[in-house]
Amino acid sequence: MTLPQPLLKLEQASRRRAGRPAVQGLSLALERGQVLGLLGVNGAGKSTTLSMIAGALAPDGGRILLDGVDLAEHPALVRRLVGWLPERAPLWQELTVGEHLDAHGRLRGLNGAALKQARTRMVERLELGPLERRLAGVLSQGQRQRLGLACALLHQPALLVLDEPGNALDPVQVAALRGLIREQAAAGTAVILSTHVLAEVTAVCDRVAILHDGTLRHEGNLAGDDHAALERQFFAIATARAAA
């Protein structure tokens, strides 16, 4: 009997940035339907890790396997399998919300009826209807994040990569975001959520990985409401260097 292979597998992935190691020897695996919270202080290597997983950055060491296939050999794999929302949703200021959805759909290979259907689904799900004709340049931060999420989810990716998606969202929007993440996971999408808000992780994640100085310091399952335990763990790791 063969075990099902994880959707995402990082094998000793490393990456240097600005002359220093940003991520070192990172190994992780993620199954379909799982939500992994990636925790760490600023500069811990979270965004670099997510950029590598999204295919925007090549690791200088190790491998990243998507559905068992090495991303370095098949970088186009992310087009179908991965949806990525970078830290500050990068938008074309001069295009409207609707034009963004169309452009992202076409860039992901959607056309005609499939594109129209996907666009309608995202507009309804993320309540973008009233904003459809509005220019991205005049959207509020929360609206930008919603549009970024819609663009990342448009092609129904198997893996959703979210880099601090809760930034600048109000409590109502945060609750809606959590609902969306749970919904995606229930539909079988694997989600990686980078954040430094511990409550975000305990609210929606099944597993947590704590990065510090580019290395994985802790990885484990989250069982129920163990917020206090996670907080202790996180602060122990994040302040260890200062204490030393």
Partner: protein, 251 residues
């Protein structure tokens, strides 16, 4: 298909941004004014010119000089249009996003190049429409005009590729525009010193853009001139693709 999606996106952006409209409107107004001046001069001298056995006609005195004026404007317009194509995308984090969509660097660069080319060829077509509007009332040397139009199309295509290469390398759109302008002027007038010294052949003359543009504007289509422009565009596009591909490695 993804290159086509990039072209559509880039064309839409060109269409909605004021820069392209302002550049298009100002340059067309300037060229239309020049066209009327040249046409006036031609009409004034028409009777005198008709007496000459091999005298210059409407094509030599109005149509081709108008295209030469377009070339001068293109040296400034193309760098301004192409400056943010890649440098702007990189600054705003959108180049990483495009790479994160699994798009090949060649598709990103060629898609953007095709969009620029569409705009520039539409610009050329609008300028050509001015002398062609009088085609029914005057004798046009079609061969000469076609050669000059081909020369202009090749010039615009190679300048667009050069602008994209500069945009791929530069960290800021303004730097990309400045570098593209300087390189264009350097390429154009590379052989100025040699010409002033009376040197009419040699490598420096072959390298200079003017050596290949002038014959085309005079109506002479020679394959070495066409190849020179194609070569320049190919080298610049290859450089731009290489630089975008390195983005994944450099970060």
């Amino acid at each position: 298909m993804s290159a086509l999606a990039v072209t559509r996106l880039e064309l839409r952006r060109l269409f909605v941004r004021p820069l392209a409209w302002v550049l298009g409107a100002l340059t067309l107004a300037w060229l239309a004014w020049n066209f009327t001046l040249m046409l006036g001069s031609f009409l004034a001298a028409q009777i005198r010119l008709a007496a000459l056995p091999e005298g210059p006609g409407y094509t030599d005195l109005v149509a081709v000089p108008l295209l030469a004026k377009l070339a001068e404007l293109a040296f400034l317009v193309v760098p301004l249009l192409s400056m943010s194509a890649l440098a702007g995308e990189r600054r705003e984090g959108r180049l990483a996003l495009l790479l994160g969509m699994g798009l090949k660097p060649s598709h990103i660069v060629l898609g953007k190049y095709a969009a620029l080319l569409v705009w520039l060829l539409a610009w050329l077509a609008l300028v050509l429409a001015m002398p062609l509007a009088l085609a029914h009332a005057t004798a046009i040397d079609w061969g000469k005009l076609a050669a000059a139009a081909l020369g202009m199309a090749l010039l615009l295509a190679s300048l667009a590729a050069l602008g994209l290469a500069c945009s791929a390398v530069a960290s800021h759109p303004a730097i990309a525009a400045a570098v593209a302008l300087v390189l264009t002027l350097a390429l154009m007038w590379l052989n100025l010193g040699a010409q002033m010294a009376g040197v009419d052949d040699g490598a420096i003359n072959w390298l200079a853009m003017s050596s290949h543009l002038q014959p085309l504007l005079r109506g002479l289509v020679a394959s070495p001139d066409v190849v020179w422009f194609v070569l320049l565009a190919t080298v610049c596009l290859a450089l731009a693709i290489r630089r975008v591909a390195a983005e994944r490695e450099r970060g």
